[in-house]
Subunit: 367 residues, 4 copies
């Protein structure tokens, strides 16, 4: 770990990507290209890719070419390396379970998109616009100068962002969620085309459980402080049913919601329209002007038309109407590999950088 005094105020913060060859890893590499605060200096993947230039190893599936700066970086075997102040992790579940805490213990701040540590009591699970205060949990970690912060599941991010304005304005007691999720969420090779074409797959292993537990934690309350800080989950019951549909990007969800008190549709619309991120979050490079956008029209949002709103960082909602069983129902859309994964993790890293929580005294250039 470089001593703080060596850090130039004008240098960008060096960033490594763990699991750089997968679909989320590629999105991270793509989003880091030309980033004003971060400089991609290390791409890490499995042992067997190590040594070769990233551009030769990766099976690039995003539109356009591998960013030139990344293409020539030699791939390194994913391993703890304290010389990297910031690591964005797109590791598989298995690799994340074994590698992320050691990376943090070696002195890196790890911002992870993987699931194994999301519900750990000492690990912040954070959407910057929703619960930035939960980052205080970092003080409860015993990971030396490093740390571990997690980005929620892709569907959880979409649903929680749509619910957060309502939770803050009225309270949310229950939500019934049925998702129609894009195949990019399964990575590569992911869902075979013979399964996805002319079909719906009514099962996404493990997904419903995440979607039924993560939002309550995200909307929960930080209690205690310092080493005894912990998150009390919100009292929010969720029923989630997750389906895979023949869409490349964009998870759509039909949501019915029970609020803590009866309010009109207009009030719900107002809550969404008025909702903004805290000022320091709104000022981050990747922050959308409005995190939740209520679309007009009775057939919106649609994955192909609205997933790229605000560069894929805004969640769109629409079709707000009464529910005969709960109170209100609506449709929500999140770009699963941008806001729901790589972009969400990047925004989280930006928030940590802006708050001076990157080890080694690194701060955004010019600050």
């Amino acid at each position: 770990m470089p001593p703080p005094q060596t850090v130039s105020k004008r240098a960008r913060i060096p960033v490594g990507v763990l699991g750089a060859t997968g679909t989320v890893g590629q999105r991270l590499v793509s989003l880091l290209d030309g980033h004003p605060w971060f400089e991609l200096t290390a791409v890490m993947a499995s042992e067997r890719s190590a040594g070769a230039p990233y551009g030769e190893v990766v099976s690039w599936h995003l539109p356009g070419e591998v960013p030139a700066a990344a293409a020539t970086l030699p791939v390194r075997a994913a391993a703890p390396d304290g010389s990297l102040p910031l690591l964005l992790s797109a590791l598989t579940t298995e690799a994340a379970a074994s590698l992320e805490r050691p990376c943090a213990q070696a002195g890196s701040l790890v911002v992870s998109n993987a699931s194994p540590h999301r519900m750990d009591a000492d690990v912040p699970l954070v959407i910057p616009e929703v619960n930035p205060g939960h980052l205080a949990l970092l003080q409860a970690q015993h990971l030396g100068s490093g740390g571990l912060v997690t980005n929620p599941n892709c569907s959880s991010i979409g649903v929680t962002l749509a619910l957060a304005p309502l939770a803050q304005a009225f309270g949310v007691q229950a939500a019934h969620v049925v998702t129609m999720q894009a195949v990019s969420g399964a990575g590569l090779p992911g869902v075979p085309s013979l399964v996805a074409l002319d079909n719906v797959l009514p099962l996404i292993p493990g997904e419903e459980d995440k979607l039924e537990t993560e939002p309550a934690r995200l909307l929960g309350t930080l209690v205690g402080s310092g080493r005894s800080a912990r998150v009390e989950p919100a009292e929010l019951r969720i029923s989630a049913q997750c389906n895979r549909v023949a869409v490349t990007d964009g998870h759509l969800a039909c949501i019915s919601v029970q609020l803590a008190r009866r309010v009109s549709e207009d009030a719900v619309a107002q809550a969404w329209n008025d909702w903004r991120a805290p000022a320091d979050v709104a000022a981050l490079p990747s922050a959308p002007a409005r995190p939740v956008v209520l679309l007009p029209g009775d057939d919106s949002p649609q994955p192909r038309l609205h997933r790229d709103l605000a560069g894929g960082m805004a969640v769109s909602v629409g079709r707000l109407r009464p529910c005969p069983l709960l109170q209100h129902r609506f449709v929500a859309l999140v770009h699963n590999t941008v806001r729901g994964a790589a972009g969400g993790a990047l925004l989280l890293a930006e928030l940590l950088a802006a708050r001076g929580q990157v080890p080694g005294g690194w701060t955004p250039p010019g600050r």
Copy 2:
């Protein structure tokens, strides 16, 4: 109308198809080919197709060729014609609203797949396995020797068949339904491919309303008799959200259900497995051996794999598990143009024929 005494006991019953060139009309023509009881003798469509042979006019979209016997039938302008004892209607909503009652008044028994008359107090809305007794409403109609019977909406049929065994065994108080529906349900031209590809359309105009009202009528009770007979709808609240997905055939629904009493998952499975149609319905030519099939495996049913079960006449269910909000949840699948439309109407016509309710004394051959 031919006098009864002229009817040979060995002749098949002459059938006309109204709206024969659309997607449901084509399915009807296809299912009638080689039917043991019915003989297709008239194909009727809009004025502008009249005169030409059916095979030249129809833009056939089903696998295989136009059935040879149908191909040479001259298309007739859809109009009342009492000489046809039985009419199967696949008319558009508008045409059905203006033509179906006149056709019945002219002396035909009209079995309709269209929506305008489904909720009329004097018109039976029937799924043969679920509420055959509602056909007694025919006595309340003032349509001379003719009559009008309706087949429910394609999604309503799937959802109601899945709920009927539970309603009969335990009572159903509420259901939360989110559908993922095939594009064939919109007919031709229907949904533009530019809208369907890489997308989900979160609106199907009019569909949610049908799905929230028809099942309660189908599961309702016939009260009174003769001319004062009417249907008391079941006390069943439904929330329906309908989406169009990139699937050719097969509507999938995620259903959460509140039963009148708490029962185990095993009891629900048992109710499905034990459920059979009444004996006279089960004996009909198009009746599936089991109207509802509980599939093993945790990723079933799937449209491409299971829509053709029992020739497309069986509804399949799966993924039964507890719901954190209501009591149970599961996935149901119906082939929307077979059981959900043409096949359902045909089964209804078969039931009417078996019960001797086709005008002119027509009965199935050999009976």
Copy 3:
């Protein structure tokens, strides 16, 4: 028509879009948003849309929202209007046949994406990088101060751009082309989803004929001058077979080519890599840095990955290898609604503006 002296050197050139509500019209409106030279001042469509604001009339199908400036423009019935110096036409074939010449005669310069006048002897059919000299045909038109210029068919543009470097370097005698075309090429409603899903449609009416005739004209030679100028088509035989596949945007073509002399694969690759637009074309706002891009990798180009290269304005080629029947074969990709339609027409309009051929003395701001 405004007298030349009233034109400010700093004003953007007023542009009207004919057929503004269709898929190509929407792309034009989208590409004109924020254009440095052109200002969208009139949107014209069919009579029945006239009067209402564009944003209310159009069924917008592109990602994102209707550009704000366009949304409030009142839609006008498409009709000749000499007060508009420049008209970009995305009219249907029928409307174009009856309206485009009258619009030109009224004094507008019409740059059309429609097909009826493409092969007219006095109408330039132009790809700016390929045959800008053919614009001299304008002098052969008897359309007063107005004029009519046409943009080729979407597939013709892709194939001709791929062939042009080879034609210029070696001569091209014959090409065998099989296309796999996107559904956006058929507009809206276009191909029904029930036809496109899980299917290939081996017919695109009229398309093969265009693809077999337009490239020879585009690669032809301008002979004569002034009023007697005409285009001598190149001696180039093309066999075209056109298919519609389940792709939203991007026409892919498998091309086998017979050159006028035997050259190596390396020479062909070199010809593509060296090829650049004439300097004045290369300097246009919408011109791609390289009009034809040879991609590495043996499985490129692919519609989803490469259609947006250079904002959709570059044609990509790949899989160059010997052909056992002709000499070489390769795969080419063009974004059919950008370079193949709206973007191509816009580039053509930019070239005409840069050359001072817009009526009324209009030139690009600052020139």
Copy 4:
């Protein structure tokens, strides 16, 4: 190997399937269910599946359920076993290369769908309707009482069946073929859905080479006899370009053909319409009434509408018209996993059984 005298004339011939769990293996198991001549008695797959019942091991992807008789068969590790007179092989290329000759040497007649031995000088490569005489090559094999016969590549079968009537009537000198192939051809997991959706993949590794060489062998001439028999390939040059499209089943090909002499389109159509299989082939249980069917209509064949013609065993052709470069062009369609794989191999096995070439004196029941 059972001595011939023990074989009952009324028993079905025992058949084993090698590679029974893959997509082609599943088709074989499905087609063998209820087969009049063959009885599936052994399912063989990789070592790790061995021991468990087939129904539990297989990830069944075909519509409907695993056939009941197959579901309870214990999976065996694929290995030579002379007690099985007939083996249908759907092994992977690697497994086929190492296992098929040993299986034949052990005394089984192996009918293989795999590619490694197709071009071996002593191995018949046969389409029953096209070149049944090539089975005489079996006498050139030194494989004891066993033998090895191969079924061509799925695309080669479609193209060769379409060309065979023309080759026999007029001679075929050259063919230019561009295919649009279904994803089922890649098996499972096969092409990732993220690659197939909204895309075309312009590369199928190894496919073009097969399609450029196999038809010439299939249309070739058997010369010599007994141990010196060999196949002289036809003089037929083919250019093949293979693409993967978002279709579940059915390979479509655009074919331009150069015949040995100039004939009219009508003559070509006549050649297809007149063509029939040799009588003994036409009498086989799986033989289609007509192996090649010329469809009317200018937009046929289409994968979704015509792949199941004759149960998937007929190749359909259409859109016959002149080619500006070669002589004629047309479109051909083959169901790749039925006629192009499992069904083709089964038909070949039936032919061998009918000709008495199954070891152990086995003949079809009743013969």
